[in-house]
Every structure is written in structure tokens, then in C-alpha cells.
Amino acid sequence: MGSNFPLFPEAASSTALRVDALFFFWLAVAAFFTIAIFVLLPVLAIKYRRRPGRLIGKAVHGSTPLEIAWSAAPMAIVMVLFVWGAEVFFHMYRPPNETWDVDVVGKRWMWKLEHPNGKREINELHVPVGTAVKLHMTSEDVIHSFYVPAFRVKQDVLPGRYTTLWFRAIKTGKYHLFCAEYCGNEHSKMGGWVTVMEPADFQQWLSGETAGATGPQVSPAAAGAELFTKFACSSCHRKAGPGEPPSLGPNLEGIFGTTVKLQGGATVTVDENYVRESILDPTAKVVDGFLPVMPTFKGQMNEDQVLALVAYVKSLTKSDASASAAAPAGGG
């Protein structure tokens, strides 16, 4: 767990390395100016101290070239910081294409996590080293924030919306997980551990029993397939066979990740948020060519069920509608 008196956090993700590089650059710049000023101030105060022969300051107005110089120089430095910072930021917000997706629900005062094969955790997250992991997060109540200092990543978790966060761990170990947005009494207790394991160990952990699990582990996508039938989604969202009347809803096979045209001409990318919105507020963005007849399922299913349906729709490939939920072979 580190020394009793750490002064710098471990860097346990690829992102952390980038952040720390930027940090040290800023630190060098800041230290330079701070030390320069902390030295110059007493030097000036002593060198020009009041004494006989120096009872009044020299009547000087200013110097425009100097003003320009010491406006331009800081401006240039902060622009470097801005560009570099933006670059790191974009890296944080652009996950790779292949990720190990974990669903997260924050609620007062715990984190509930679910792996693609259905394995659930509370306040703990096990991940394989070297694999890009992406979290899809929502809150059941107030705003929380998922924060892993060792990875240098943080993202607010909101009610009514998904937010995402991704990282690639580069070192095995156990790292703090904190809630970083004040959420009430147990805010400081709402956290736990992220455990980074060797891939083989992770596979073993993944296929093992979850302590205290109730019922068989079902992957979110498989759970979503059940819900898809249970809530009769398949009655409208299907591929119409030859001679059949056209389906009332768009066929969902292969639709995830594509861009669809809406009534009125706008387009939208079929991502997690759009699928969620379509379930809970179906008439908001109706696909062109279809009538706004889909009922809303708000109040009829909880966040976990919505997440499962999202996972299911994601898993639908063009040719068939069967879910596949094997763990990726690492890397990505």
C-alpha cells in the first residue's frame, strides 16, 4: 500500500504517464517563476532600501516594449500548456476501439460494477493489466465522481445520463478508488479498490464464483436478450421477412455505432446514450421513415435493466441476433 508518507502517487496507467509528463513541465515552469520572484523580491527590497541618498524612488513612467514582452512571454507559455493539456485531454476522452467494457452504477454510497460476462463487484474493480478498460457510468441518485488517482482519471457520474471513462493499466497492484463529488454523509466512505492483475490471474478471477453471488452469472448482453423478449421489443424491432408488413421499429441488427437519419433531417450516432434515450424517451429522436409509436419504458425498468438492454443492442451483429460475451484476449 505504499509508504506511510508518500509525496507522489504511483503512475499505474498509460494516461498517468502522459499526465505526469505535463505536470513536471508545468512544475518546472512554475518553480522557475516562483523561485525567481521569491528571490527577486527580497533582493529588490534590500538593494533599493530607503537610506540617505535614496529617500525617494526614481520617477519612471513605464516601458511599452517591456509590457509587450512580459505579456507575450506568459501568453506563449500558457498557450503551450493549453495545447499540451488539450492533447492529453483528448487522449482521455478518445478510448480505443477495442475495450473491456464495464458498467458502473453509483448510488449513495457505493459503486456497483458489472463485467461483460455478468460478474458483479461492489466498491471493487478487477482489471487485467495492459487491457484498455472502458466504464459506462450512471448514477441512481445524485452526482458522484469516479476517481482513481493512480490512473489520473476522473469522471462525474450523473443521474439520467451515461458518462464514460477509460484507462489502460500498466502496473499490477491495488489502487484507491474514490468518489470525488460530494454526495452526502458517507461521501468519504464511498470508495474501494481497483485491483490490476496479470491477464491469466484475471481470467481465473473472472470465471470464479463471486462471493455471495445470488443466482447464476449472466452477462449483461444475455440478460438484455431476455428483457428484449420480456418487454416485447422484438414485436416491433425485427427484420420483416418477405411478404410481411414492414416492421414498426428499425431493425437493430448491426445498428450500434452507425449513424442514422432522424425525422427532420438531423442525424444521430447510435451510441449508449441514444439507445438509453430511445428506451426511456422514445419520441425524442425518431428514425426517419418510422412513426413515433414506441411506448416509453420509463418507470418500468431500473438502471441495471437499461444497461443490460444497451449491452444487448451493442452485441447484435448484422447476420444474427445471438449475444456473444467472451472476454477479449487482452490488448486493444
Partner: protein, 225 residues
């Protein structure tokens, strides 16, 4: 400036001790009122921002919700308020000329028109109350109490009530100011030499009018055609 019996009671206007001249005092009061109105623009601006966000997000629900408002009453109110700005301007004019009767008639008309406006608003609010359109638990829209369209419509009414309510509150404050002016006008306080309070209240009243001129189309005329 003398004008028979309806002029001010004469004499130099009172200049507060911190001012060097009456002109400085008047200019300071004017500038103060303008700065105050700028601040009021920002106050309502927050509400307009909230309005813009939700209207942009839920255009259809908001168009539907807007249909529940009575455009006729809103239009009448708009005309009433614009007319009250005219009568207010007449009051300022009367004060500048020191014409007591013009001041008092104009101020009374302004008050009456303002009261009409608030009365009509009260009727509209009452209708909304009866139709379960108050944005609180118990809200119903097109017969439904839940569902996304209901929530979005509720947001429309939340904006409607807060914006028109804030506006009405400012009108009530304006009422108080007008009554104060009326009292002073009756006593012949205002004249060409000293009419700053009337001018400043006039500015305030015109501002309240302008806010309504924005509110009316934004709230009542959302639905197409």
C-alpha cells in the same frame, strides 16, 4: 417654466450635501438607474438562459405546452403594458413641464393599466391551477401524469411561471414606486427643475415593459402558425 396653478411649489430643488450641483445630482441618479437596469437584464438573463436550454432540447413538447396558454389574453396584456409605457412617458413629460394634472392623470392611468395587466395574469394563473398545469406534484398534461412528454411540458410551465412571476413581482414593485410618485406629484414636488424620480421610475417601468415584450412571443407564440 411657470404655468398657472399646476406648477411646482418653486424654489431650488434640494441638492444633497455630497453633490456640488443639482445637475450632478440628477446625472448621478440617472446613471445609477441605468446601472441598476443593466443588472436587472442579467437577472432575467439567467431565466432566459434556462428557457433557451430547454426549448432547444424539447421543441415539440414545448410547442405543445405553449398551446395551453391563452394567446388572446397574452396579446391583450401586451397591448395594455405598451400603453402603460405611453402613459408613463406622459407622466414624465408632465413632470418636466411641471403640469400637476397631467402628471396625476398619467400616473393613475399607468397604475390602472398595470392593475389590468396583473388582473389578467391572475386569471391566467387561475386557469392553469384549475387545469393541473402548475409545475409541482399533481401536474398533468394531456391527461397523463408521468412520462417524458409530461416532464418536458412541466419544464415549460416551470419556466412560464417563474418568468412571468418574476416579471409580475417587478410590476408590483413598480406599483409601489408609482404610488410614491403619485403622492409627490399631488403635492407638486416635480417640475422642470426637479423631476429625476419620475424620469427614473419611467426608465424602470419601460424596462419591465420590454421584458414582457420578450416574454410574450417566447412563451405564447412557440407553436407554429
Amino acid at each position: 417654466m411657470a404655468d398657472s396653478a399646476s406648477t411646482s411649489h418653486g424654489g431650488a430643488p434640494p441638492v444633497a450635501h455630497q453633490f456640488a450641483t443639482a445637475r450632478q445630482q440628477r446625472e448621478a441618479a440617472n446613471l445609477g438607474m441605468w446601472f441598476f437596469l443593466v443588472q436587472e437584464v442579467l437577472f432575467f438573463g439567467g431565466l432566459f438562459t434556462v428557457y433557451a436550454v430547454y426549448r432547444f432540447r424539447f421543441p415539440e413538447a414545448w410547442a405543445e405546452a405553449s398551446r395551453e396558454l391563452d394567446v388572446k389574453l397574452g396579446a391583450i396584456n401586451t397591448a395594455v403594458l405598451i400603453t402603460s409605457s405611453l402613459t408613463m412617458a406622459m407622466a414624465v413629460h408632465g413632470a418636466q413641464l411641471g403640469k400637476r394634472s397631467q402628471q396625476m392623470v398619467s400616473l393613475l392611468l399607468t397604475l390602472a393599466l398595470g392593475a389590468t395587466f396583473l388582473g389578467i395574469k391572475a386569471i391566467e394563473y387561475h386557469h392553469k391551477w384549475v387545469e393541473h398545469l402548475m409545475p409541482a406534484p399533481g401536474f398533468q398534461f394531456h391527461g397523463a401524469s408521468s412520462g417524458p412528454e409530461v416532464g418536458h411540458a412541466r419544464l415549460f410551465f416551470a419556466c412560464y411561471f417563474v418568468m412571468t412571476g418574476m416579471h409580475a413581482l417587478h410590476m408590483v414593485i413598480g406599483f409601489g414606486l408609482l404610488l410614491w410618485l403619485l403622492k409627490n406629484a399631488a403635492a407638486g414636488v416635480y417640475s422642470g427643475a426637479y423631476n429625476t424620480p419620475v424620469e427614473n421610475v419611467g426608465l424602470y417601468w419601460h424596462f419591465v415593459d420590454i421584458v414582457w415584450i420578450f416574454l410574450f412571443p417566447l412563451l405564447y407564440l412557440v407553436h407554429p402558425r
